[in-house]
Assembly symmetry: C2
Homo-oligomer: 422 residues x 2
């Protein structure tokens, strides 16, 4: 595509998204839910075409030598298609966050100061292979009154294009601006740069969802606010006071329930004062379930099947049946290790000693800290938010699961009767 | 200063600020309030030295040909010094935002999910001539559990240095890390670039306070989240339904109470359907109080003293006794004008027609929208926050006055009894 035409097309996308955002901000819940229902019907009626576009994407990806992980993420089958539809129904049933008076105070001079929840505006979402993100992101943004510009992975292009047509048709059918959900259908990597630059102020927020290359690029180039869904280098710490059954169940579930999700545990920390047989049994169970364990010298003494961890392993997000493991000096040692290596996503302590528990929950500075529960609960649905667009690992605006409320901001509405300031 | 030494010194500042932030996060209220009290006593005892350092800064600024506005902002007299001390007392008396459980829900599986308020971490504040910012920013950051790196304007360097010594001494005296409040005492503009780059991940948030040059530079260079205290191009819209006494009082107060503050009105919009004598009297009062009025053709007919507004005037933040003025087609015309030209800070409608009022309050997308009240109420103290570090005009994390709560974030604390995910 011509270099001059291409940025102009994207800028136009930004301009029309901004206009659409202004209409969306004032919509009533019923209008948005009607459009979500239409999206459901359009997608359901187009299932065969979406699945065959997806089959073509998969064939292309295989020819291009994509990894099995990429192919798996890219794949839509009937089950995953149904999940996409269910997600639309769930989001339709969630309460509308917009317009809520979050807080209110009356000042001595009679001014009534209200904080009212409003949409963020125009959100750009840059993601990789999973096509369900196209539907989830569009639905969450619509329900929260935001216009969205979607830029999916090139390997899912044909699938995403047809999904986007369904979504736009649904908007049009229900009288909403079709520019409320836009899709960047070029594979040019320059498009990402344009979005990160904010399209002349049209983009209020960028949400990246993807691997470390994308994340690194966003960090380097973004000129607009970013809600970073970054790495999940999650830790489970087993304290000397841990209940053995809890420790075994939580470590296994945290690591192995699904290994490809950002809430999967990547490092196991075991208290030096924990009984050797507790450490041995937890690690033994991991090994027996096919998980590679890379331990420090102290742990390697326990079991010859434990491999050797290097400095690099403490920082890795494996997203695979591999876990790094170290012994640490009590809860303080665990806190230090996590402060040094964690990506600030999710960490869990397994312990019965409540002093150690409260110290861990207070001093570990990650988006989510858990006591006696699996790290795999790091998920908006599990948190009761109904849906999520990712887990934010930054510190501003939102941390942890980003659901409908996290896609909003607020403004102050001040009601007076002629007050002037002295 | 040597180029290699200088960035290394700043990185070290970032590293020690991060360590200090970890200690601050766990402090109880009493410990923080004790340090605020010590700051008060150190400053009160050092008044003469601070004022004489300030006199030197002012003499230098005059020799360098600084504008009267800069000199005025730079000046500390006894009254302003007292205000600085009062501000410490006020912040000491504010409730501690840290540790508060903002929300809590029990999930069907028994997990208790709490959102707990925590500090942001390390905040860099880049500001210009007002030395009181040094005290206010340090006190607000300390009370909210954040470490702060202050980079004040070069013209206030001697004043800020001695104020910083007082603050650091107070921290040391009360057993808190002196690195919790750091001051960049070089005037090298490279320091700003280093801070905007985040000092190797040590800076969680940058808050700029200053003119458009600084703001533009921050927008261009920042690699870390920014809470932008940008321009205040504030509007007052007088509807045809306005009460005349309200219109006169609110317009005058919005523009002229203080002209150098960001909440001062810069553009007056008058409904075309408003009676001519209402428009004439409001503008007449402005002119009589010495305010220059730059109007559109429609308004210039009303009074020969009205100057001519150009396109540029609709975007200007005068911070001076000058106001741009236009007639607009009802509340819809006002909303359009504001959408096009406003900086998103504060806008007020003067009206008795409640349909017009609600439309204005809903559709004007600025941080603060007011009905029948002066734009000069755009202030954290007037909002009941006790103190503020500025007015955020961005859309993420915080909008409007940035007080203690806005200097915090949250984390999820999840309490289980052995739950694993199915």
């Amino acid at each position: 595509m011509n270099d001059d035409v291409f940025p102009a097309a994207l800028r136009e996308m930004g301009r029309t998204a901004r206009l659409a955002a202004r209409s969306l901000a004032g919509l009533r819940r019923a209008e948005k839910d009607l459009a979500l229902g239409a999206m459901y019907r359009w997608l359901a009626a187009t299932r065969e075409s979406v699945l065959s576009a997806n089959a073509e994407d998969i064939a292309d990806a295989k020819r291009a030598g994509s990894s099995p992980t990429v192919i798996d993420r890219l794949r839509l089958d009937d089950l995953r298609f149904d999940e996409m539809l269910v997600s639309l129904t769930v989001i339709q049933q969630l309460p509308d966050p917009i317009g809520e008076i979050v807080s209110e105070r009356r000042r001595p001079n009679g001014l009534l100061i209200q904080r009212r929840r409003v949409p963020i505006g125009v959100i750009a979402i840059i993601y990789e292979s999973r096509p369900n993100v196209t539907v989830d992101a569009a639905a969450l943004c619509l329900k929260s009154g935001n216009a969205v510009i979607l830029r999916g992975g090139s390997e899912a292009l044909q699938t995403n294009r047809i999904i986007h047509i369904c979504l736009a048709n649904a908007l049009g059918d229900t009288g909403l601006p079709t520019e409320a959900v836009q899709f960047v259908s070029t594979v040019d990597r320059e498009a990402v740069g344009q979005l990160l630059d904010g399209l002349d102020g049209a983009v209020d927020l960028v949400i990246p969802r993807g691997g470390s290359d994308l994340v690194e690029r966003v960090r380097r180039e973004a000129r607009v606010p970013v809600l970073g869904h970054l790495q999940g280098n999650c830790h489970v710490y087993v304290d000397a006071s841990a209940d053995r059954a809890n420790a075994e169940a939580i470590v296994l579930n945290s690591k192995l329930r699904r290994t490809g999700v950002c809430g999967a545990a990547e490092t196991l920390l075991i208290d030096r004062d924990a009984p050797e047989d507790l450490a041995r049994s937890v690690i033994g169970l991991l090994l027996e379930r096919g998980c590679e364990v890379r331990g420090d010298a102290d742990l390697r003494r326990l079991d010859p099947r434990i491999g050797s961890a290097t400095e690099d392993d403490w920082r890795r997000e494996y997203l695979a049946p591999i876990i790094a493991a170290a012994r640490v000096r009590g809860v303080g040692g665990a806190i230090e290790h996590i402060a040094r290596y964690s990506s600030g996503h999710t960490e869990s302590i397994v312990a019965e000693d409540l002093v150690a528990v409260e110290r861990f929950l207070s001093e570990v500075d990650s988006a989510i800290v858990l006591h006696n529960a699996s790290t795999q609960f790091a998920d908006g649905v599990e948190f009761g938010m109904g849906g999520e667009i990712g887990i934010a690992t930054g510190r501003l605006h939102a941390r942890g699961p980003v659901g409908l409320e996290e896609l909003t901001t607020y403004k102050y509405v001040v009601r007076g009767t002629g007050q002037t300031r002295g």
